[in-house]
Amino acid sequence: MIKAMEAVADLVTAGADDAAHGGSSRVIRVRVLRQDVAGGESYFERFEVPYEPNMNVISVLQKIAARARSQDGRRVAPVAWDCSCLEEVCGSCTMLINGRTRMACSALVDSLVSTDGDEIELRPMSKFPVVRDLVVDRRRVFRGLEKVKAWVPVEGSYDLGPGPRISPEDQEDAYPLTECMSCGCCLEACPQYMKIETVRRDDESESDFEKRRKAAFDSGFVGAHAISQAMLFNSHPTGRMIADERLEALTAKGGIQMCGNAQNCVAVCPKHIPLTRSIARAGRAATVWAIKRLFDR
């Protein structure tokens, strides 16, 4: 038995090699909207990669990077893009694929080609400043989480016993919201979420710029992801102890009122998070809170 195992050890990688070199001479054509630097001009560049069954947009980009040549054979810099986990939990690889926001790792070439024709178009997200090619600056996504205080306000991390008891129903209600990976799809597809790009001035210190950028972020729509996280923590027994602070943030400028009920967020969410339910719940909570504040103050 052992001998046999040794003899076939090579088989483990055989699959990988087959996948890499096998297949027909069919090619996939890709059109990428490129931009060399932040604030620079953008332009389309075309590439061709050999087709393989079951490949996704990430493997297409990997091949483009390895080849570093455009369709007409010119040597070009490899396309820059963000990715990490490749299994749709890290939220890195959001881009516009054939015009729609989605994760590149779960965009399978076979289905793209069968629905949209044999050229794939890749563009960077349009609601965030482009850093380079398909890489965008999504700091505003995380600022949104900070703005709505998306955390449980625990009194330190020392051992104070277990957390509150939670019914399985409440856990199941909350769980989908906790799967939000801050990918930004909901924001990209939202017609109410506008791009905010701030550029550091020459005479500005790092911290002044930081402050100005935060203020700029806060002036725009906070977005479905942050509203949903606010609702998640407002439903947690400890989290809700600062529910009012979250509602205050949600009713500040750029808050929940900016939602236009297009409901694209829920339609494009790769995790199928019930974002519109969160938004409606936030609307209800804000209504009650605003009325209470009006009369209690």
Partner: protein
């Protein structure tokens, strides 16, 4: 005295838990990460996190048994005091994460639910659907964001750690990092530098790890003089979904929730798996390991799956090795509730619903048990001294390592759901040590040191950018390295292959110097960053191969058929007994020879200098790992008798009356 400042590299579970606790202790933290910390590889952990709990306690479980399972599963290759401390902290850590809002699955009464994982007989694993790692990471990310808002933490996301900065005494005084957007270099002076940079799966090309798991940060520390321990121990996860870009993990929780591994008894049975009758299926794990069934430790499950496909030729498909992992007997509603996340991944990437059709899976590189060597201070009770400045410190004073990138907790094989625990534990436990270590008398001025290091790094960067004429493609070279490593240094290892592979990797390292970069710009240049980290893979690949080559035994994930100790052949009781005695003799001899940590120090040209260090097994004496071995019962009997004899002779050696 200046306010103490700590530099944490890596924002996964370990880095974030350390950052949270450090901020809480009043230290300022710079947190550097290749990606926004919320996107760290910890999100990929699916199944759960282990600790003793109220339920298992009443079934006879204890922290001690958690320790025992961990060191037995790890084939006794880890120092036991840190593991004991970790097992002791388990319940507190779960409680803490629960308080932080992790949506653990609940019982009908509202308590945390638990599932069973591999290598234990207890339901010790708390879980949040099938995305436990993601949930734990988010809870810590949220707390760190809170500290960031409070001004105690400054995040440097999309920054690359280039190396520690050491002073003349060899103490780490900070680090130099590079902004991956502007490509600018920056000095980060710090009272302590903590590496929490995870594993190095990319050395194997495709693995279950994220694209950031290049191991480059650890490699850079290693080349600066930090030791690397147990490099040859790489966990190959038994169940992954094969893919061209990545081997996606199928969590052990699939088996924890009742998933069964099988192959048709007829090779490459063309029938629909659902229509193959029970009698014509081989549930080989359950057949060979009646006690643990589908939940044997990972190294064993991996070898068995590998074996059934290769030796027995029973792979489900002919051109692609795989076996069935079957969940179809479990109600859909239960699956959605407990495993929804991972089943969706399968469905999304394979286009098949695993609730209806058995999944096809095969082992894949998953976890680095080895990592930077770190120290600890043992307490009187056998655990660790909390706050000792030695805890988690590498051999370079002031440089610490936690999480997957340290070598400390998992020995020769990690048990499922122990990694999340070790990451959070090492992060939390490190913090008071740093609070004690930092803020002493400030050392000599380091400006000069940092200037020199930045110049060196700029030089290296410029040199790389200038390489446009080379004839090597870094991506092709990486694929070559990955294929080689996967072939010779995963499930089955042979000395002739390892020896040849070592030379091949040395050659690849030389070829790397001829790598052409296709992007010569100085703005978000991923090409040059990748080429740089590829160059950093070779020293680690070399130490993995060298460690594996030198270690002539089988231990945990390290399996060398030439040195395997097969089970007993005899059926006659007397003969069996004799064989068992012999088996135990050779086991004892092997233990004496090989129960040692492998320590690699970086020599010239990135070649490792390997030495071995004794292991603290003072809490639980090593014993044969007998999961399912033929004749295991006889061996166990002989071994027990020997242990008892040894214990009596120890007692006899104690002078009479000394105990009273």
């Amino acid at each position: 005295m200046a306010q103490p400042r700590v530099l944490v590299i890596g924002g996964g579970l370990a880095g974030l838990s350390a950052t949270m606790r450090l901020a809480e202790l009043g230290l300022d933290v710079d947190l550097v990460s290749l990606v926004p910390v919320k996107r760290s590889h910890s999100v990929c952990a699916q199944g759960g996190i282990n600790s003793v709990n109220a339920l298992t306690r009443q079934q006879g479980d204890s922290e001690w048994k958690h320790l025992d399972d961990t060191v037995y599963g790890g084939d006794f290759l880890q120092h036991q005091p840190p593991v004991k401390e970790m097992a002791d902290w388990g319940p507190r850590i779960i409680d803490l994460m629960d308080r932080l809002g992790v949506p653990f699955n609940r019982t009908s009464e509202g308590f945390r639910d638990q599932r069973r994982f591999g290598g234990t007989l207890y339901k010790r694993t708390a879980f949040a659907g099938a995305t436990t790692g993601q949930q734990l990471l988010y809870a810590l990310d949220e707390q760190v964001r809170r500290w960031e808002a409070a001004g105690k933490v400054k995040k440097w996301e999309f920054w690359d750690f280039l190396g520690p900065v050491l002073d003349d005494t060899g103490r780490c005084r900070g680090a130099v990092c590079q902004d991956l957007v502007t490509m600018q270099f920056k000095a980060f002076p710090a009272d302590a530098v903590v590496l929490a940079t995870g594993g190095n799966g990319l050395i194997y090309g495709r693995s279950t790890m994220s694209m950031v798991c290049t191991g480059s940060a650890v490699s850079r520390a290693y080349r600066a003089g930090a030791w690397y321990g147990n490099g040859e121990f790489i966990q190959v996860h038994p169940t992954a979904i094969p893919g061209a870009d990545k081997l996606r993990l199928m969590s052990e929780s699939a088996r924890g929730e009742g998933g069964r591994v099988w192959v048709p008894r007829t090779p490459q049975d063309p029938r629909d798996p659902r229509s193959i009758p029970e009698a014509e299926r081989s549930y080989f794990l359950e057949e060979r390991y009646p006690k643990y069934g589908n939940l044997v430790p990972r190294d064993i499950a991996t070898r068995e799956i590998f074996d059934i496909c290769t030796t027995d030729g029973l792979s489900v498909e002919k051109d692609r090795l795989c076996v069935y992992l079957d969940l179809t007997h479990i109600p859909r509603e239960t699956l959605d509730r407990k495993l929804g996340g991972i089943l969706e991944i399968y469905e999304k990437f394979q286009g098949v619903d695993p609730r209806v059709t058995p999944m096809k899976i095969f082992p894949a590189v998953h976890y680095s048990m080895g990592g930077l060597w770190v120290d600890y201070e043992k307490s009187k009770t056998g655990g660790l001294v909390e706050g000792s400045i030695r805890n988690q410190q590498t051999n370079l004073p002031g440089l610490y390592a936690i999480g997957e990138c340290d070598y400390q907790y998992h020995g020769a094989n990690r048990l499922g759901a122990n990694s999340l625990l070790s990451c959070i534990f090492s992060g939390l436990f490190l913090a008071p040590s740093l609070a004690n270590a930092c803020g002493g008398t400030p050392g000599a001025d380091t400006t000069r040191l940092f200037e020199a290091e930045i110049r060196r790094q700029e030089e290296r960067h410029r040199e790389l950018l200038g390489r446009t004429a080379g004839d090597e493609n870094p991506y092709a070279l990486h694929q070559e390295l990955g294929n080689l490593m996967t072939r010779v240094a995963t499930v089955v290892r042979r000395n002739d292959q390892l020896e040849a592979a070592y030379d091949d990797v040395c050659e690849m390292a030389r070829r790397w110097k001829r790598c052409a970069v296709s992007d010569t710009g100085n703005w978000t240049n991923q090409n040059v960053v990748f080429t740089k980290s590829l160059g950093d893979m070779f020293p680690i690949a070399k130490l993995i191969l060298k460690g594996a080559l030198l270690r002539d035994e089988c231990r945990g994930a390290h399996f060398k058929p030439a040195f395997a100790m097969p089970g007993l052949a005899a059926t006659d009781p007397v003969e069996k007994r004799r064989e068992a005695e012999e088996w135990c003799d050779s086991f004892q001899a092997n233990t004496e020879k090989w129960l040692k940590s492998t320590i690699a120090a970086c020599g010239p040209d990135g070649d490792p200098e390997i030495s071995y260090r004794e292991i603290d097994t003072s809490l639980i004496p090593p014993r044969p790992r007998l999961y399912g071995l033929v004749g295991g019962d006889a061996i166990e009997e002989v071994w027990k008798e020997r242990q008892e004899r040894a214990a009596t002779s120890r007692e006899a050696a104690v002078p009479v009356g000394a105990g009273s």
